[in-house]
């Protein structure tokens, strides 16, 4: 890489996108106003499980301002049923339709859509739709779902099991028989939801004369949306254009195509007018989808010195009713493929049980495999407690060293250049761990409940290609296109689709650094399927800072090479000129219309990592908490992060991602529960009952960047999910440590004040009946 005087790489350059976002000049889906636009509202089931005996839309259709009311019956020839291909053997995938027809399977299940002059009128018409129900028994938990007398949720399946598999590696019986102790651990998490500040929404505009369909979407995967609409509505890809401008947060869920997207597209096609649907917050909290809602039981075979010989794990996951685009066996596979990550353990069994229930769709939510860190770090801490070993020492005992890498995990995943131990030691040093433990002793003597938690993780951001194979996916190549403009500036077209990650700035930094030109000379274009190269998955899995950036670097290197050649040929420049005069070369090329030169000025590259490219980020989080004995509330007194994500494109962006992930992790650990009662009623449908973290809930966070050298020439790895992976683990450990005087075990999240007082024996242990 050519270095210039002040490379923008590694600088916390203020973001370009902030000027418009801070002044209210962003363009989000609800900002789109088109002439003749109509508004959609969905009729959603108030029951968790029921047959629809009749659906009367006559009265609704007749209401003022209503243009159409569509049901499954109306759309059956227009939208193909939804059926995802199982890509893992043994995975059962039920079929369903975009609007539910004869049966509803969760509270919020859409059965009809009203299209009217405005949303208020559409909602009025919803209440005029007459439905006759036959309520069925609701199935809310995995245990209920797999019981022999469980009601069947999907008639095209034999039972409610979506996936049940056992993966075994190594000689488990041998390891368990050799063990000094077998220690049981269990940890489960409640259902939560992503609740981005911008809800879902779409505007679809079909021009009946040209048969072109333009979709304005809040999506992080525009090409996926285009493809799925084409597939389900029987359209050609080139008829459809998806435009995404600003997205108010995605956190995973907006990387899927939703039933509502298909219905709105069909409505616009039928009516020949633009149709807008904006999800309201109640829909978003109840009908959009849920995540986590899983539990793992572990048996750890250990030696008395703390060495882990083998682990047996059994994971259940509450799938909800309808499968979404990201299939749940993959989430379980994420856990299976990363839970061992930096441990020196190769004898391992992982049983997965995923069952359908009458809850909303399982969604991908920032760090969908985060159970792996929660499980592993809880296992380490429980083993430490049972064997009376310090939690830091138990990690020193079991974490791989750099010298032992590359290490192959038993499922064929390579761990290499993963600096877990280094981040552990650094965090311990920064915290002055010995002093913290000494302080804890005196605090305990005063009756104060102070706890210290530690957790370490390595994240496959992007990992190596074998990690993706292990979870059943192939790494999709990442594109980048660089075009030299007539004035020598550069247009960078990326298929990354930011929803807060700052790509308009970070990728411009990467391009400018690689090309050796000022940051201000690169402009990033994205979000329009008409312009951007094909990229199905879109942005996600914390890959963009590595793969998205490497695509840009690849393209930039190629452009530089070509321009250097052209500069030498046309302007007599030295072939290895450090700073190419882009403006001069551009003027020369565009002036004489030479075809070869013009072609050369436009570079499209698809970057695919070789088997040894990619890498793991690593981090250790350490925190100190104190429990208020009166109320069971948690004060996080100190929070330290030591992390290695390689070189940082924009340190402020990295820190924002880490801190934001920690905030969401605090939410999942202490506050949030997308709760259902035994009848399947969703109880957390507003911000009064679904409690999001606010400024006062977040501690001061100290972040130390390590950037341990590797031999990559561009070593950036992703951090987007790390805060979310780590915070629940470190907080669960700290809270259990604070509760040490009571001998309590943390086995369930969220750790509400209620639950904390129960663990202290101050309140009776009672089940709320909520799941």
């Amino acid at each position: 890489m050519m270095a210039i005087k002040t490379t923008p790489l590694g600088q916390s350059i203020p973001r370009r996108e902030d000027v418009r976002l801070l002044t209210g000049r962003g363009r989000f889906v609800d900002d789109i106003q088109l002439p003749n636009m109509l508004h959609a509202a969905f009729l959603r089931s108030p029951l968790a499980h029921a047959r629809v005996l009749s659906l009367g839309t006559q009265a609704a259709r007749a209401m003022a301002g209503v243009h159409a009311v569509y049901t499954a019956q109306d759309l059956k020839d227009l939208i193909k049923p939804i059926h995802f291909d199982p890509h893992i053997e043994g995975h059962r995938v039920p079929s369903y339709t975009a609007l539910s027809g004869d049966k509803v399977r969760f509270v919020g299940d859409p059965l009809a859509v009203v299209v009217a002059d405005d949303r208020s009128l559409a909602e009025d018409a919803l209440s005029a739709i007459e439905v006759e129900w036959e309520p069925l028994q609701a199935v809310m938990t995995v245990d209920e779902a797999v019981a022999s007398d469980a009601p069947l949720i999907f008639e095209d399946l034999d039972d409610n099991v979506i996936y049940h598999a056992l993966h075994e590696y190594g000689d488990l019986d041998g390891a368990f028989s050799r063990a000094d102790r077998v220690i049981p651990i269990s940890i489960k998490q409640a259902r939560v939801t992503s609740s981005a500040m911008e809800t879902r929404g779409i505007v679809v505009d079909v021009n009946p004369a040209s048969e072109e369909m333009t979709c304005y979407a809040s999506s992080k995967a525009p090409h996926m949306l285009r493809g799925r609409i084409a597939e389900h509505l029987g359209l050609d890809h080139h008829q459809i254009r998806v435009i995404v401008k600003d997205v108010g947060g995605a956190f995973g869920g907006k990387g899927a195509v939703w039933r509502e997207d298909l219905v709105v597209a069909a409505a616009s096609k039928l009516l020949g007018r633009p149709v807008k649907w904006i999800e309201d917050r109640v829909e978003n909290l109840t009908a959009f989808g849920g995540a986590r809602d899983q539990g793992v039981e572990i048996d750890a075979a250990v030696q008395s010195d703390g060495t882990i010989l083998a682990l047996r794990m059994r994971m259940w996951l509450n799938h909800g009713a309808y499968p979404g685009m990201w299939l749940t066996p993959m989430f379980a596979a994420l856990v299976r493929a990363t839970v061992l990550s930096q441990l020196r353990v190769d004898t391992f069994a992982f049983e997965t049980l995923i069952a359908a229930t009458n809850k909303n769709t399982y969604i991908s939510y920032r760090g969908p495999g985060s159970a792996e860190t929660l499980v592993r770090e809880r296992v380490l801490d429980v083993i430490a407690a049972e064997l009376d070993v310090d939690p830091v020492d138990i990690r020193r005992k079991n974490l791989l060293t750099v010298e032992e890498q590359p290490w192959e995990m038993p499922m064929g995943v390579t761990v290499h250049r993963a600096h877990a131990r280094e981040t552990l030691e650094r965090a311990v040093e920064l915290a002055d761990y010995t002093a913290l433990r000494a302080n804890q002793v005196s605090a305990r003597a005063d009756g104060r409940l102070v706890g210290i938690g530690i957790a370490t993780s390595i994240q496959p951001c992007p990992g190596f290609p074998d990690w993706w194979e292990a979870i059943g996916y192939k790494t999709e190549p990442a594109p980048a296109r660089l075009r030299l403009e007539p004035d020598g500036t550069i247009t960078l077209v990326t298929s990354e689709m930011p929803t807060g990650q700052g790509h308009e700035t970070t990728l411009a930094q990467v391009a400018a650094a690689e090309l050796g030109i000022p940051f201000g000379h690169v402009r990033v274009v994205l979000g329009d399927t008409q312009t951007t190269p094909f990229y199905y998955f879109g942005t996600g899995a914390s890959r963009s800072s590595n793969m998205g950036a490497k695509a840009v670097i690849s393209a930039a290197r190629e452009l530089r090479r070509r321009l250097a050649e052209l500069g030498a040929a046309r302007l007599g420049l030295e072939p290895y000129e450090a700073e190419l005069p882009f403006a001069e070369i551009a003027r020369s090329i565009y002036a004489d219309g030479d075809a070869t030169s013009l072609e050369a000025a436009d570079v499209l590259v698809y970057y695919k990592p070789s088997p040894t490219e990619g890498g793991w980020a690593a981090s250790t989080h350490l925190c100190v908490v104190e429990i208020d004995r009166r109320f069971g509330t948690i004060e996080i007194q100190r929070y330290i992060v030591a992390e290695d994500c390689g070189q940082m494109i924009n340190p402020a962006v990295v820190e924002g991602q880490i801190r934001g992930g920690i905030t969401q992790g605090i939410g999942v650990t202490l506050l949030e529960h997308a709760a259902y009662d035994e009848d399947g009623q969703h109880l957390a449908g507003s911000y009064l009952t679904y409690v999001l973290p606010k400024a006062q809930d977040i501690p001061e966070i100290e972040i130390e960047h390590m950037d341990i050298p590797t031999d990559d020439d561009f070593s950036a790895r992703g951090v987007g999910e790390s805060g979310m992976l780590m915070a629940p683990a470190v907080l669960a450990n700290a809270i259990e440590d604070a509760l040490r005087p009571f001998g309590a075990r943390v086995t369930e999240l969220p750790l509400t004040p209620d639950r904390v007082l129960q663990l202290m024996g101050e309140l009776p242990s009672e089940s709320s009946g909520l799941t």
Binding site: D118, R119, S120, E123, D124, S127, D280, R281, V282, R630, F631, G632, L671, H673, A675, L683, A684, S686, Y687, L688, T689, V691, L692, K694, T752, P753, D754, L757, E762, L763, P764, E766, S768, L770
Partner: protein
Amino acid sequence: MKLSRFAYHAPTTLGELAEILVEKAGDAAVLAGGQSLIPMLAMRIGQIGHLVDLNRVDELRDLAQSNGTLTIRAGVSQRTVLTSPMVRAACPLLSEALPHVGLRETRSRGTVVGSLVHADPAAQLPAVVVALDGELVVRHGSNERITAVADFFVAPFITTKAPGEVVTELRLPVSHPHMGWAFEELERGPFPLVSVAAGIELDEDGLVKDARLAFSGIGPTPIRARTAESSLHGGQAGAVEILEAVELALADLDPPSDVLASASYRRRVAAELARTALVQAQARAGGCA
């Protein structure tokens, strides 16, 4: 969550306001601050055909003190009351509680009377006015009735205000200068879980002459713990007496269990807050204590 259509009335006199409400009784709601009403209409909880805005009725903007009574009329915002030095002197409990009610952004429009009429069982102001033995003036057409706040709250979100009626005024007795007041609450998320309002007045010998203890968030309505209060009379309101009083207060309680907290948690919080509030009130009680 878009509001359904309704007819809108913006009367400029109290007489006009009362008349419209009688005419449209059962199909109308009064708009004061709207901070509780508008979200309910957005969620389509209770449909109305008529919305009657009281904000143009100048006489409902009155905040005044005379003859030992603080009068807060229906159009007075929470912010106006919170920032009033007169209220801080006359009714320190109210001033202490108001910064906890809603948010800066909702107090500019939300009204004190409106919060009472909304009767959210977890809202703070109902507990405060119940502790203060407040009274409400309720108008029906050209008739007025006065009701003690103690009788006003019936069930969650339900009061004795009948269709066609409008609450025009809250009356609070001006606090005795040596009475100590305290307000404590615990929030879960953006809003209160449990709140406690307490007051202690001591006589020349430092013994309790008047004790107030009221809760919200632990029952269908705000609860005034009169048995607990009586138990404090004539005593010193020391640690032991307070503990016993709080136990008495909780004895008959049946707090709800919901997604935010269990009944036993609410009970626990109520006990802790009540202890703290009573201790604080006692410490603030002036005179010879």
